[in-house]
């Protein structure tokens, strides 16, 4: 690689990089969009199945028509894609196996058939390359004689230079958006509740096949350029990542499109720019895009504000501190009832075993519920009110559990200990709990 010319270390050559970048990104967005409905219907493996079984479709189309014309190839692949879907349904129904197994059986056998057919074709001195199906040929989209300037790019004549693959991908993406946009409501009900969809006249089986035809078309349009690895990654990763970011389908779809864009652009630039930093040759862009997709999914699993591991840990931690603070206040109140104002830290530590006591004390001190007088914790006036409320709730719950729940009086402390932390108020009325203690 030569020395970078512009944009810090990112080297971007319109002739070499523009169309591969656009093609990769279009493929990513189209597959990422449709992938939402595969992930929701737990059919993610279908992308895998279709993209593999496209191989025999291509070879058969070639053997029949004896031409590598794009239209023939596309038709062969599309028919193979739809045939896969039908075969999977058949195997599922007649073989009585689970969907994952049905998809696995169908695509592995069809892919094997493709490999055998390629071998037969090779005997007849016909060159078909199985590797292309896996990795794609993004590099071949170079634009020779591309203009150097932006102004040169924005001319009508530039259109003639757009490769057929990019146009196919653009049409695919437009159709995919039109499909999801127009039938959003129908796709949603068919994915969520196929039975209700069917009774309402939105036949879920037809919707399934329609979706699969679009997935097959997206796969066929994409894999020639980016290879089946990226297709599979894009049908699953952006949708799965988006699912972790939100609980609503429209915003999940929006997220998945943004994530797909990030995978396409980020992956491509990453493939060319990052190796350039280490003065190495560019790596396979499709592979790099898939890596970005996987990386974003991992990031979302860890750091998503809704369903990420960190959020869940923080939520649990916050709850533990809140419960410990409640228990701290209640312990101090009970001590006051017994005539002791304030308890030393170590005594509290023995009462609140296994709870984050120091954090609870910090939190309660900050909210001015307790004071820390050289290791002795005392309730403030407002702390006293809060503690009274807690103990009242605890004892009312105990009363309720014995009176209404049929619990034995010596078995109600533990459940009341849980219930007192809930916002629900127990029914009031009694003035003494089952153990004869006053209810404040």
């Amino acid at each position: 690689m030569t020395t970078p010319r512009s944009l810090a270390f990112i080297q971007f050559d319109i002739g070499l990089d523009l169309f591969p970048l656009i093609a990769g990104t279009l493929a990513a967005v189209g597959c990422g969009l449709l992938g939402n409905f595969l992930v929701l219907r737990r059919l993610s493996l279908m992308g895998d199945a279709i993209s593999h079984s496209v191989l025999p479709g291509l070879v058969i189309a070639f053997l029949i028509a004896s031409t590598r014309s794009p239209l023939v190839m596309f038709l062969g692949a599309a028919i193979a894609g739809v045939a896969t879907v039908v075969l999977v349904e058949l195997v599922k129904k007649l073989g009585r196996v689970e969907p994952g197994a049905a998809m696995g059986v169908v695509f592995s056998i069809l892919f094997a058939l493709g490999v055998l057919l390629i071998e037969r074709a090779a005997v007849r001195h016909v060159d078909l390359d199985a590797d292309c199906v896996l990795h794609g040929q993004l590099e071949t989209l170079a634009w020779y004689g591309a203009p150097d300037t932006l102004a040169g790019l924005l001319q009508w004549s530039s259109f003639d230079a757009v490769p057929r693959q990019v146009i196919t991908l653009a049409i695919m993406v437009v159709l995919a958006f039109a499909f999801v946009g127009a039938l959003f409501k129908e796709l949603r009900i068919a994915a969520f509740d196929p039975a209700l969809a069917t009774t309402q006249g939105f036949n879920a089986t037809s919707m399934h096949y329609l979706l699969m035809i679009f997935v097959a078309a997206a796969t066929v349009a994409s894999f020639e350029v980016v290879g089946s690895i990226l297709v599979i990654a894009m049908l699953v990763c952006p949708a799965a990542t988006a699912r972790l970011m939100t609980d609503r389908l429209p915003s999940q779809i929006a997220w998945s499109v943004v994530i797909s864009l990030a995978c396409g652009v980020g992956g491509y630039l990453g493939a060319t720019a990052i190796p350039a930093v280490f003065e190495k040759d560019a790596v396979n862009a499709a592979g790099s895009m898939a890596m970005v997709a996987g990386g974003l999914l991992a990031l979302a699993m860890i750091a998503s504000p809704k369903h990420g591991v960190i959020t869940r840990m923080l939520r649990r931690r916050r709850l533990a501190i809140r419960v410990a603070t409640d228990d701290l206040l209640a312990a101090l109140y009970r001590a006051e009832e017994a005539g002791r104002t304030g308890l030393p830290r170590d005594r509290l530590g023995a009462l609140l075993i296994g709870q984050p006591l120091p954090l609870a004390i910090t939190r309660a001190t900050r909210s001015a519920l307790v004071t820390d007088d050289r290791g002795v914790i005392r309730l403030t006036r407002s702390g006293s009110v809060a503690a009274r409320d807690l103990v009242r709730r605890h004892r009312l719950w105990e009363h309720y559990l014995v009176d209404e729940g049929g619990f034995a009086p010596d078995h109600v402390h533990a459940p009341a200990e849980t219930l007192e932390h809930l916002p629900t108020q127990p029914p009031g009325g009694p003035s003494r709990d089952p153990h004869g203690r006053p209810i404040p």
Binding site: L40, R42, A182, L183, F184, K185, E186, R188, I189, A191, F192, D193, A195, L196, A197, T198, T199, Q200, G201, F202, R243, T246, D247, R248, L249, Q252
Partner: protein
């Protein structure tokens, strides 16, 4: 209305004529047989649902209760027989038939809110390719209110309890504004508050002239909640009003030798005949 085991057969008529099925009846099932993998699960079912009644379908596990209602709506293929709604085919009557599937039949992790789910009941009214308008959302909200779930409209459905999820399903059925409802085990695994809410809704539906056919698993509550009952065990053992048909004898025929169930049933019958209901 009651017909026990073998309904008296009318004089043979031409195949195209079925004089005993009237256009008044919301649901007429004629000689319906359903088979899964060549093994019949429903044999030669004949049934006419009376209008404006609450009907329970009861029978042991594997009796074909869910299959019966699914076959009526064409969700499972019929091997033979005919089903008519108000004398018309299901295709024509679709809009007048509401459906509450079993709660476990859907994925409650699906990224939709409770209101989104209830709105699904309006989809047929809204039609193909149109978005859910404000008007339909308001109608859906009103239905949520009727089952006491208005406060949960914006909850993600996985955050709801089982009973609340069942009430969302019920609200969705109300949003369909149908005249005949099929409900598949709406009382399964719900809390007391939800059971109460469902019963209230069933009665309200009956008061507004609807017919509701419910797959039910709890024999004890049949006399209390329902007017009519279909006793099913792969074929219709008996059908008709609870008072006439829900007898120990018929239950024995339906459940065979399952004694625990029978003692439960006997208790229920005793309560029913004691005039508690």
């Amino acid at each position: 209305m009651s017909s026990v085991v073998h309904p008296p057969q009318p004089a043979p008529v031409g195949l195209s004529e079925r004089p005993e099925h009237s256009a008044e009846s919301p649901l007429s099932i004629h000689a319906m047989t359903v088979a899964y993998h060549r093994k019949p699960v429903l044999w030669d079912v004949d049934y006419d649902a009376p209008a404006n009644r609450l009907v329970a379908i009861v029978g042991p596990n594997g009796a074909g209760k869910s299959t019966l209602i699914k076959a009526c709506m064409g969700l499972v293929p019929r091997a033979s027989g005919q089903v008519e709604f108000w004398g018309e085919s299901y295709r024509k009557a679709r809009s007048r038939v509401g459906y509450v599937p079993q709660r476990e039949s859907v994925d409650w992790d699906f990224p939709v809110s409770a209101l989104d789910v209830v709105c699904m009941g309006r989809y047929r009214r809204i039609g193909w390719c149109r978005p859910v308008s404000r008007k339909h959302k308001d109608a859906a909200l009103a239905c949520m209110d009727r089952v006491g779930m208005a406060g949960y409209a914006n909850r993600q459905i996985s955050q709801l309890s089982g009973g609340q999820q069942q009430r969302v399903f019920l609200a969705r059925a109300l949003a369909q504004e149908a005249d005949l409802y099929f409900m598949d085990e709406p009382f399964a695994g719900v809390d007391a508050a939800t059971e109460h809410a469902i019963v209230e809704v069933l009665r309200a539906l009956k008061n507004s002239g609807k017919t509701v056919i419910v797959v039910h698993h709890d024999l004890q509550t049949v006399p209390e909640y329902f007017d009519d009952v279909i006793l099913l065990n792969m074929r219709v053992v008996a059908s008709g009003s609870v008072r006439e048909v829900f007898t120990k004898d018929n239950l024995h025929k339906t459940y065979g030798g399952r004694l625990t169930l029978l003692s439960e049933a006997a208790e229920a019958i005793a309560r029913a005949s004691a005039g508690e209901v």
